[in-house]
Protein backbone atom coordinates (compact mmCIF):
# COMPACT_ATOMS: atom_id res chain seq x y z
CA UNK A 1 0.00 0.00 0.00
CA UNK A 2 2.70 2.40 1.06
CA UNK A 3 4.68 1.57 -2.00
CA UNK A 4 1.71 2.22 -4.27
CA UNK A 5 1.11 5.57 -2.61
CA UNK A 6 4.73 6.53 -3.04
CA UNK A 7 4.55 5.59 -6.69
CA UNK A 8 1.40 7.67 -7.12
CA UNK A 9 2.95 10.61 -5.31
CA UNK A 10 6.01 10.40 -7.55
CA UNK A 11 3.75 10.34 -10.57
CA UNK A 12 2.14 13.56 -9.38
CA UNK A 13 5.38 15.48 -9.14
CA UNK A 14 6.86 14.13 -12.33
CA UNK A 15 6.92 16.36 -15.38
CA UNK A 16 6.99 15.22 -18.92
CA UNK A 17 10.26 15.74 -20.75
CA UNK A 18 9.61 16.91 -24.26
CA UNK A 19 12.61 16.92 -26.49
CA UNK A 20 12.69 20.22 -28.37
CA UNK A 21 16.31 20.15 -29.28
CA UNK A 22 16.64 17.22 -31.61
CA UNK A 23 20.13 18.09 -32.77
CA UNK A 24 23.06 15.83 -32.04
CA UNK A 25 24.89 16.59 -28.80
CA UNK A 26 28.57 17.44 -28.79
CA UNK A 27 30.96 14.66 -27.86
CA UNK A 28 32.95 17.15 -25.82
CA UNK A 29 30.99 17.83 -22.61
CA UNK A 30 32.58 21.24 -22.29
CA UNK A 31 31.32 22.30 -25.72
CA UNK A 32 27.91 20.87 -24.92
CA UNK A 33 27.78 22.90 -21.71
CA UNK A 34 28.71 26.08 -23.58
CA UNK A 35 26.13 25.28 -26.24
CA UNK A 36 23.38 24.86 -23.67
CA UNK A 37 24.33 28.10 -21.98
CA UNK A 38 24.30 30.02 -25.24
CA UNK A 39 20.94 28.77 -26.47
CA UNK A 40 19.45 29.89 -23.18
CA UNK A 41 20.49 33.44 -23.97
CA UNK A 42 19.41 33.82 -27.56
CA UNK A 43 15.89 34.91 -28.34
CA UNK A 44 13.78 33.12 -30.87
CA UNK A 45 12.73 36.04 -33.07
CA UNK A 46 9.68 34.22 -34.33
CA UNK A 47 8.31 33.57 -30.86
CA UNK A 48 9.71 36.51 -29.03
CA UNK A 49 9.23 35.49 -25.45
CA UNK A 50 11.08 32.26 -25.79
CA UNK A 51 14.72 31.43 -25.98
CA UNK A 52 15.84 29.22 -28.81
CA UNK A 53 16.32 26.55 -26.21
CA UNK A 54 12.62 26.53 -25.36
CA UNK A 55 11.21 27.06 -28.80
CA UNK A 56 10.43 24.44 -31.37
CA UNK A 57 9.82 26.98 -34.13
CA UNK A 58 11.91 26.02 -37.10
CA UNK A 59 13.75 29.31 -36.90
CA UNK A 60 14.93 28.31 -33.42
CA UNK A 61 15.94 24.98 -34.85
CA UNK A 62 17.96 26.71 -37.58
CA UNK A 63 19.60 29.04 -35.08
CA UNK A 64 20.55 26.14 -32.81
CA UNK A 65 22.09 24.43 -35.80
CA UNK A 66 24.08 27.57 -36.65
CA UNK A 67 25.31 27.87 -33.07
CA UNK A 68 26.32 24.24 -33.08
CA UNK A 69 28.23 24.85 -36.31
CA UNK A 70 29.94 27.99 -34.98
CA UNK A 71 30.95 26.19 -31.78
CA UNK A 72 32.44 23.29 -33.67
CA UNK A 73 34.36 25.80 -35.76
CA UNK A 74 35.95 26.97 -32.53
CA UNK A 75 34.20 30.33 -32.25
CA UNK A 76 34.10 32.03 -28.86
CA UNK A 77 30.84 32.85 -27.08
CA UNK A 78 31.34 36.54 -27.81
CA UNK A 79 31.76 35.80 -31.51
CA UNK A 80 28.57 33.76 -31.51
CA UNK A 81 26.58 36.52 -29.81
CA UNK A 82 28.04 38.96 -32.35
CA UNK A 83 26.84 36.66 -35.10
CA UNK A 84 23.29 36.89 -33.75
CA UNK A 85 23.32 40.64 -33.16
CA UNK A 86 24.75 41.31 -36.62
CA UNK A 87 21.77 39.57 -38.19
CA UNK A 88 18.90 40.15 -35.81
CA UNK A 89 19.92 43.15 -33.76
CA UNK A 90 20.52 43.63 -30.04
CA UNK A 91 17.01 42.27 -29.37
CA UNK A 92 18.22 38.76 -30.15
CA UNK A 93 20.09 38.60 -26.86
CA UNK A 94 18.25 37.96 -23.64
CA UNK A 95 21.04 39.63 -21.74
CA UNK A 96 21.67 42.83 -23.67
CA UNK A 97 25.25 43.92 -23.92
CA UNK A 98 26.49 47.11 -22.36
CA UNK A 99 26.78 49.37 -25.36
CA UNK A 100 24.99 52.15 -27.19
CA UNK A 101 21.28 52.29 -26.53
CA UNK A 102 21.30 49.37 -24.11
CA UNK A 103 23.58 51.35 -21.81
CA UNK A 104 20.48 53.27 -20.78
CA UNK A 105 18.86 49.99 -19.84
CA UNK A 106 21.77 49.05 -17.65
CA UNK A 107 22.23 52.33 -15.82
CA UNK A 108 18.52 53.17 -15.43
CA UNK A 109 18.04 51.26 -12.13
CA UNK A 110 21.04 53.04 -10.62
CA UNK A 111 19.79 56.40 -11.81
CA UNK A 112 16.35 55.79 -10.36
CA UNK A 113 17.86 54.70 -7.06
CA UNK A 114 19.96 57.85 -7.00
CA UNK A 115 16.95 60.09 -7.71
CA UNK A 116 14.94 58.34 -5.00
CA UNK A 117 17.81 58.66 -2.53
CA UNK A 118 18.19 62.38 -3.24
CA UNK A 119 14.50 62.95 -2.67
CA UNK A 120 14.63 61.09 0.65
CA UNK A 121 17.67 63.11 1.76
CA UNK A 122 15.98 66.37 0.82
CA UNK A 123 12.78 65.56 2.63
CA UNK A 124 14.64 64.45 5.73
CA UNK A 125 16.83 67.56 5.75
CA UNK A 126 13.77 69.74 5.48
CA UNK A 127 12.09 67.96 8.35
CA UNK A 128 15.18 68.24 10.49
CA UNK A 129 15.44 71.96 9.95
CA UNK A 130 11.83 72.46 10.95
CA UNK A 131 11.57 73.99 14.44
CA UNK A 132 10.22 71.59 16.95
CA UNK A 133 7.13 73.18 18.27
CA UNK A 134 7.22 72.60 22.02
CA UNK A 135 4.29 74.83 22.58
CA UNK A 136 2.04 72.69 20.52
CA UNK A 137 -0.89 72.52 22.83
CA UNK A 138 -3.59 71.19 20.59
CA UNK A 139 -3.22 67.79 22.10
CA UNK A 140 -3.14 68.80 25.70
CA UNK A 141 -6.23 68.72 27.72
CA UNK A 142 -7.65 71.94 28.90
CA UNK A 143 -9.23 72.30 32.21
CA UNK A 144 -12.89 72.60 31.72
Amino acid sequence: MKRTLTALALLLISTSALAIDTGKAFDDPELQARYEKIIEEVRCLKCQNQTIKDSNAFLADDLRREIRRLLSEGKTNAEIFDFMVERYGEFALYRPRMSGITLLLWIAPGVFLLIGGLIVVRVLRKRMSMPIDLDDDTETEQPA
Partner: protein, 179 residues
Protein backbone atom coordinates in the same frame (compact mmCIF):
# COMPACT_ATOMS: atom_id res chain seq x y z
CA UNK B 1 7.35 76.56 -9.03
CA UNK B 2 9.35 73.37 -9.62
CA UNK B 3 6.97 71.66 -7.22
CA UNK B 4 4.20 72.01 -9.73
CA UNK B 5 6.21 71.84 -12.92
CA UNK B 6 8.04 68.59 -12.14
CA UNK B 7 4.97 66.35 -11.88
CA UNK B 8 3.55 67.97 -15.01
CA UNK B 9 6.71 67.24 -16.96
CA UNK B 10 6.81 63.65 -15.71
CA UNK B 11 3.14 63.25 -16.60
CA UNK B 12 3.69 64.65 -20.09
CA UNK B 13 6.59 62.23 -20.65
CA UNK B 14 4.44 59.32 -19.49
CA UNK B 15 1.69 60.34 -21.88
CA UNK B 16 4.19 60.30 -24.74
CA UNK B 17 5.41 56.84 -23.72
CA UNK B 18 1.85 55.54 -23.57
CA UNK B 19 0.88 57.09 -26.90
CA UNK B 20 3.77 55.27 -28.50
CA UNK B 21 3.31 52.06 -26.56
CA UNK B 22 -0.44 51.79 -27.00
CA UNK B 23 -0.51 52.71 -30.68
CA UNK B 24 -2.96 50.16 -32.14
CA UNK B 25 -1.00 50.13 -35.39
CA UNK B 26 2.18 49.16 -33.66
CA UNK B 27 3.30 45.67 -34.53
CA UNK B 28 5.27 44.16 -31.69
CA UNK B 29 6.71 41.56 -33.99
CA UNK B 30 8.24 44.16 -36.23
CA UNK B 31 11.91 44.58 -35.58
CA UNK B 32 14.10 46.98 -37.48
CA UNK B 33 16.65 45.24 -39.65
CA UNK B 34 20.22 45.81 -38.49
CA UNK B 35 21.17 45.92 -42.17
CA UNK B 36 19.30 49.15 -42.95
CA UNK B 37 21.64 51.46 -44.84
CA UNK B 38 24.34 48.81 -44.80
CA UNK B 39 25.48 46.48 -47.57
CA UNK B 40 23.19 43.52 -48.00
CA UNK B 41 24.68 40.26 -46.70
CA UNK B 42 26.74 38.29 -49.19
CA UNK B 43 25.07 35.15 -50.47
CA UNK B 44 25.11 32.66 -53.24
CA UNK B 45 22.37 30.13 -53.88
CA UNK B 46 21.47 27.64 -56.58
CA UNK B 47 18.56 28.86 -58.67
CA UNK B 48 15.17 27.32 -58.12
CA UNK B 49 14.40 26.71 -61.79
CA UNK B 50 17.92 25.83 -62.83
CA UNK B 51 19.98 24.41 -59.95
CA UNK B 52 23.11 24.41 -62.09
CA UNK B 53 23.04 28.22 -62.25
CA UNK B 54 23.42 30.40 -59.19
CA UNK B 55 22.14 33.70 -57.87
CA UNK B 56 24.21 36.05 -55.73
CA UNK B 57 24.63 39.72 -54.87
CA UNK B 58 26.39 40.16 -58.21
CA UNK B 59 23.28 39.02 -60.07
CA UNK B 60 21.51 42.30 -59.39
CA UNK B 61 24.49 44.58 -58.81
CA UNK B 62 23.93 48.05 -60.25
CA UNK B 63 20.13 47.76 -60.14
CA UNK B 64 17.61 48.93 -57.61
CA UNK B 65 16.19 45.51 -56.85
CA UNK B 66 13.64 43.77 -54.70
CA UNK B 67 14.59 40.65 -52.78
CA UNK B 68 11.51 38.77 -51.69
CA UNK B 69 11.79 35.94 -49.18
CA UNK B 70 9.02 33.45 -49.81
CA UNK B 71 7.91 29.89 -49.20
CA UNK B 72 5.01 27.74 -50.23
CA UNK B 73 4.02 27.05 -46.62
CA UNK B 74 3.64 30.76 -45.99
CA UNK B 75 0.11 32.16 -46.13
CA UNK B 76 1.26 35.76 -46.40
CA UNK B 77 3.30 34.86 -49.47
CA UNK B 78 0.21 33.56 -51.23
CA UNK B 79 -1.54 36.74 -50.23
CA UNK B 80 1.08 39.02 -51.76
CA UNK B 81 1.80 36.89 -54.79
CA UNK B 82 -0.67 38.53 -57.16
CA UNK B 83 0.72 41.92 -56.18
CA UNK B 84 4.24 40.73 -57.00
CA UNK B 85 2.95 39.50 -60.35
CA UNK B 86 1.49 42.94 -61.02
CA UNK B 87 4.77 44.62 -60.08
CA UNK B 88 6.67 42.31 -62.36
CA UNK B 89 4.27 43.01 -65.21
CA UNK B 90 4.72 46.76 -64.72
CA UNK B 91 8.44 46.21 -64.89
CA UNK B 92 9.15 48.73 -62.13
CA UNK B 93 12.26 46.98 -60.92
CA UNK B 94 13.70 43.48 -61.03
CA UNK B 95 12.32 41.15 -58.36
CA UNK B 96 14.46 38.33 -57.06
CA UNK B 97 13.26 35.63 -54.76
CA UNK B 98 14.79 33.65 -51.96
CA UNK B 99 12.79 30.48 -51.60
CA UNK B 100 13.27 29.95 -47.91
CA UNK B 101 13.12 26.63 -46.11
CA UNK B 102 10.93 25.05 -48.71
CA UNK B 103 10.55 21.86 -50.71
CA UNK B 104 11.91 22.35 -54.17
CA UNK B 105 9.10 20.47 -55.95
CA UNK B 106 6.47 22.41 -54.01
CA UNK B 107 8.15 25.69 -54.92
CA UNK B 108 8.34 24.72 -58.59
CA UNK B 109 4.63 23.87 -58.55
CA UNK B 110 3.92 27.25 -56.91
CA UNK B 111 5.56 29.39 -59.58
CA UNK B 112 4.03 27.25 -62.29
CA UNK B 113 0.51 27.60 -60.94
CA UNK B 114 0.53 31.11 -59.50
CA UNK B 115 2.91 32.76 -61.92
CA UNK B 116 6.56 33.62 -61.52
CA UNK B 117 7.22 37.31 -60.80
CA UNK B 118 10.90 36.66 -60.14
CA UNK B 119 13.76 37.25 -62.52
CA UNK B 120 15.27 34.39 -60.55
CA UNK B 121 14.78 32.73 -57.21
CA UNK B 122 17.50 31.23 -55.11
CA UNK B 123 16.71 27.99 -53.35
CA UNK B 124 17.58 28.20 -49.66
CA UNK B 125 16.39 24.81 -48.50
CA UNK B 126 18.16 24.72 -45.14
CA UNK B 127 17.54 28.39 -44.34
CA UNK B 128 21.21 29.28 -43.99
CA UNK B 129 21.01 32.34 -46.24
CA UNK B 130 17.79 33.35 -44.50
CA UNK B 131 19.70 33.54 -41.22
CA UNK B 132 22.46 35.61 -42.83
CA UNK B 133 19.79 38.04 -43.97
CA UNK B 134 18.20 38.15 -40.54
CA UNK B 135 14.98 36.61 -41.83
CA UNK B 136 12.65 35.41 -39.10
CA UNK B 137 9.39 34.93 -40.91
CA UNK B 138 8.20 34.90 -44.48
CA UNK B 139 7.31 36.95 -46.36
CA UNK B 140 10.02 39.54 -45.97
CA UNK B 141 10.97 41.96 -48.70
CA UNK B 142 14.20 43.90 -48.99
CA UNK B 143 14.72 46.92 -51.20
CA UNK B 144 18.31 47.03 -52.43
CA UNK B 145 20.07 50.13 -53.72
CA UNK B 146 22.22 50.29 -56.82
CA UNK B 147 25.34 49.93 -54.73
CA UNK B 148 23.93 46.94 -52.89
CA UNK B 149 22.77 48.48 -49.63
CA UNK B 150 19.52 47.58 -47.87
CA UNK B 151 17.23 50.59 -48.24
CA UNK B 152 14.15 49.11 -46.65
CA UNK B 153 12.85 45.90 -45.16
CA UNK B 154 9.18 45.08 -45.24
CA UNK B 155 7.72 42.42 -42.99
CA UNK B 156 4.61 40.55 -44.01
CA UNK B 157 2.73 40.61 -47.27
CA UNK B 158 3.27 43.50 -49.64
CA UNK B 159 0.29 45.54 -50.67
CA UNK B 160 -0.41 48.50 -52.92
CA UNK B 161 -0.62 50.62 -49.80
CA UNK B 162 2.73 49.71 -48.25
CA UNK B 163 4.29 49.80 -51.69
CA UNK B 164 3.23 53.38 -52.28
CA UNK B 165 4.12 54.70 -48.86
CA UNK B 166 7.27 52.74 -48.03
CA UNK B 167 8.86 51.73 -51.30
CA UNK B 168 8.05 54.21 -54.07
CA UNK B 169 9.58 57.30 -52.40
CA UNK B 170 12.80 55.38 -51.70
CA UNK B 171 12.93 54.03 -55.24
CA UNK B 172 12.34 57.50 -56.67
CA UNK B 173 15.10 58.97 -54.51
CA UNK B 174 17.47 56.19 -55.44
CA UNK B 175 16.90 56.35 -59.19
CA UNK B 176 16.67 60.15 -59.20
CA UNK B 177 20.00 60.77 -57.50
CA UNK B 178 22.08 59.05 -60.07
CA UNK B 179 20.37 60.42 -63.15
Amino acid sequence: MIRFAAPLVVFALLVLVFIKGLDPNRDLNELPSPFLGKPAPQFELPRLLDPTASISNETYAGDVALINVWATWCVGCRQEHSFLNELAAENVLPIYGINWRDQRDEALKWVEQLGNPYVASGYDGDGRVGIDWGVYGAPETFLISKDGRVLHKHLGPLSQNSWETDFLPLIAAETGDTK
